[in-house]
């Protein structure tokens, strides 16, 4: 998009005088199975990864997309009402998260960033858990082993190495390439376009390649790292990063839930068979602000956002479902209703969660006794008691 194009599409906020890089349409390398208009594009390589989907499954994906968007909206408004400290919205990234999340088998393990509420949902994690984290009640607090979904990681990129090490452990356990689909296990590491610049992420590429880790790197390129366009992080399409490390990379339309599902299934299968690691760039867009604390009008054009609205992941899927006769308006209404109830219940559970007491602060720092810390805790208890005495 040249300067003039930008001007033509309008909406240049004051102060935005340089052309922003064009996120483009993903280019010819991008794999898309469903156009923004909801037209299914047959694909001889990947269609077979969708063959087993029943109409129920297909409707389920829609339900996921809608509930996940609603969950996200709820998080946003809870923050606005002072109930959460912060909320990183997934708006626009529903298809990337649901498509990849639903591609996982129960035994596969996930390493999310802080934005994968949609993947958490697919894994069966109670959506209250991330809400409580952003509320400041916990720093995560769920058991990663319960749903094979690791804790959110906030320090950008760290989890890529955790995923690699976990995948190395899977190999040690003999859970790769046995041919038993219930046994072979893959790991998926989520990260953003910005994260691709971190040393840890690139070290993860090195380690994963060196040990053939059964790992899929799943990069949601939502075009922005807070205010910085992806062009600050890379000159070339991100999926090509993988080739510098000797493993395959592919770009998929991150707003196309079917493509995300098919591609992730394929890549996970490869990883489980011992052909890891692999890299998927899900080409998508952060429709909202980086988090509730951000003001994107400072750095990006509304025209860009407008353009991406036409590529909405839910709309196109809904259009296709309806056209194919997999779902009708009654179904869509029912899902909306479910979403309303879901959101209301979630909100209720969130706002009624009490703050933890100060005396619980010392729990779980160490798993075995730590006398110095215990002495401090005892002093704290005395100190609190001294107030109670006063009163």
């Amino acid at each position: 998009m040249s300067d003039t194009d930008v001007a033509a599409t309008g909406g240049i906020p004051a102060g935005l005088d340089a052309a922003r890089p064009d996120p483009g349409d993903g280019g010819p390398d991008m794999i898309q199975l469903l156009t923004p208009e909801g037209v299914r594009i047959p694909n001889s390589d990947y269609d077979r990864y969708l063959e087993d989907l029943t109409p129920d499954d297909l409707r389920g994906l829609y339900r996921d997309l809608v509930l996940v968007r609603r969950l996200d909206a709820e998080g946003w408004s809870l923050q606005r009402q002072g109930e959460l400290g912060l909320w990183p919205s997934l708006l626009g990234q529903e298809a990337a998260q649901v498509g990849s999340g639903r591609a996982l088998k129960p035994q596969d393990h996930c390493f999310p960033t802080y934005r994968e509420h949609g993947v958490a949902w697919c894994r069966g994690v109670d959506p209250l858990s991330p809400l409580l984290m952003w509320r400041g009640v916990t720093n995560g607090g769920w058991d990663p082993a319960e749903h094979n979904f690791h804790l959110y990681t906030i320090v950008i990129g760290s989890q890529a190495l955790h995923a690699t090490g976990y995948a190395m452990g899977v190999t040690k356990d003999g859970r790769v390439g046995t041919g038993d689909p219930e046994r072979d296990t893959a790991v998926i590491a989520y990260f953003g376009d910005g994260a691709s610049s971190q040393g840890d992420v690139n070290e993860a590429f090195v380690f994963a390649a060196s040990y053939n880790a059964p790992l899929v790197f799943f990069c949601q390129n939502n075009q922005w790292a807070i205010s910085e366009p992806v062009s600050r992080q890379t000159r070339i399409p991100l999926y090509q990063r993988a080739r510098g490390f000797g493993f395959p990379g592919v770009r998929v339309d991150g707003n196309d839930v079917l493509a995300c599902l098919a591609l992730t299934r394929h890549n996970l299968d490869e990883a489980r068979s011992g052909n890891g690691p692999l890299f998927i760039e899900a080409f998508t867009y952060r429709m909202g602000a980086h988090t509730t604390a951000d003001d994107p009008t400072k750095y990006r054009f509304s025209a860009e956002v407008e353009r991406w609205k036409h590529r909405d992941p839910i709309l196109r899927y809904k259009t296709w479902l309806a056209r194919e006769g997999h779902a009708d308006s009654a179904y869509f209404e029912q899902v909306d209703k479910e979403a309303d109830e879901f959101a209301a219940e979630l909100r209720q559970r969130c706002v009624t969660t009490p703050d933890p007491g100060g005396e619980t602060m010392w729990e779980h720092v160490y798993s075995q006794p730590h006398p110095v810390m215990e002495a401090e805790k005892a002093a704290y208890d005395d100190y609190i008691a001294s107030f109670e005495e006063e009163n």
Partner: protein, 327 residues
């Protein structure tokens, strides 16, 4: 010279602007510091005025930020790095302790490292994990670095300029929960005091209360409260953590005989340990009471809904003062 009323954050912006105006070699680098002006808006407007060459939005990699800043310093620039939040300085830790801190010594003095690393630090703003930490002791323990912290708008304005002028690397800790504190002071003219000096912000005879950065305001509140009960607290804003201004600290401790030190960092091996050890050594016969340390709890920074229990607040500081007086 205009009398201005600025927030601490805007005072930093003004200080950065003054330094950039004065010296074309001053460059800023960090994540989101350009159009966005940084997540705390400290660099707001600077890229617009000084260009992308001097206000550099960096790729998302802290080691890269500090490591390339080292290279720019070697080329004659005076880089000012912004670390977005305290907890994100650790990916750059290696470059800071093994390169930034040591290059002057390694080169036998031929290479200077006039670099400032700005770190918004401390808690109390309801943030998620890694956004509320106080890493200053790690840096103060590292020979070759200098570590300072400002607590009010006027100091912020001057100290950032002085740090940029310093030929040694300076870790500049900004009390993020005080960014919106506002005060009136003169822009321009002469800096009221040396960068590496402490400041007695309130005089008193009964107890010396040492602090820096975000807890200074709390200490002043504590001093007010104590004054009502007849206790005269002398509050010292340390400002410089490495080198410590031991003279100012000792003079006050000699006078009062009782010292309390507070900071948000975990107390085990926090600044308070060094200061207590030093006072104990220097004033063995002069202290009336052991130095009381009121620090953050010795646990990882807790979820924000618990942070009030973690942080030294008015009550805990006054409790510390009481303990010092009880001896």
């Amino acid at each position: 010279m205009a009398l201005e009323k600025l927030t601490l954050g805007k005072a930093l912006t003004a200080g950065l602007r003054a330094a950039m105006d004065r010296d074309p070699k001053v460059v800023l680098i960090g994540e989101d510091i350009g159009k966005l002006g940084g997540v705390f808006r400290i660099t707001e407007g600077l890229q617009k005025d000084f260009g992308e060459d001097r206000v550099i939005d960096s790729p998302l990699a802290e080691s890269g930020i500090v490591g390339t800043a080292v290279g720019m310093a070697l080329r004659g620039y005076r880089p000012v790095c912004e670390i977005q939040f305290d907890g994100f300085v650790f990916p750059a830790f290696d470059q800071i302790v093994s390169q930034v801190a040591k290059l002057h010594a390694r080169s036998a003095g031929t290479v200077k490292m006039p670099m400032v690393i700005r770190i918004p630090f401390g808690g109390g703003i309801g943030s998620p994990e890694h956004h509320s930490e106080s890493p200053e002791a790690y840096f103060a323990h590292t020979a070759g670095l200098r570590v300072v912290s400002c607590s009010n708008p006027e100091d912020a304005y001057w100290m950032i300029q002085q740090a940029i002028e310093c030929d040694d690397p300076v870790i500049f800790c900004e009390p993020k929960r005080r960014y919106h504190d506002r005060a009136e002071f003169e822009l321009g003219g002469e800096a009221p005091r040396e960068l590496f000096s402490a400041n007695v912000v309130r005089e008193g005879e009964d107890v010396t209360l040492l602090a820096y950065g975000p807890t200074i305001r709390t200490c002043l509140e504590a001093a007010n409260a104590a004054a009502e009960e007849g206790t005269a607290i002398e509050v010292i804003d340390l400002r410089t953590l490495s080198p410590l201004d031991t003279e100012t600290i000792l003079a006050s401790a000699r006078k009062t005989g009782r010292v309390v030190i507070t900071h948000e960092a975990q107390s085990f091996l926090g600044m308070g340990s060094e200061i207590a050890a030093m006072l104990h050594e220097e004033l063995f016969y002069d202290l009336e009471a052991p130095v009381v340390r009121v620090g953050g709890a010795n646990i990882p920074y807790p979820p924000s809904r618990m942070e009030e229990h973690f942080l030294p607040d008015l009550d805990r500081i006054l409790d510390g003062v009481d303990r010092a007086l009880a001896y």
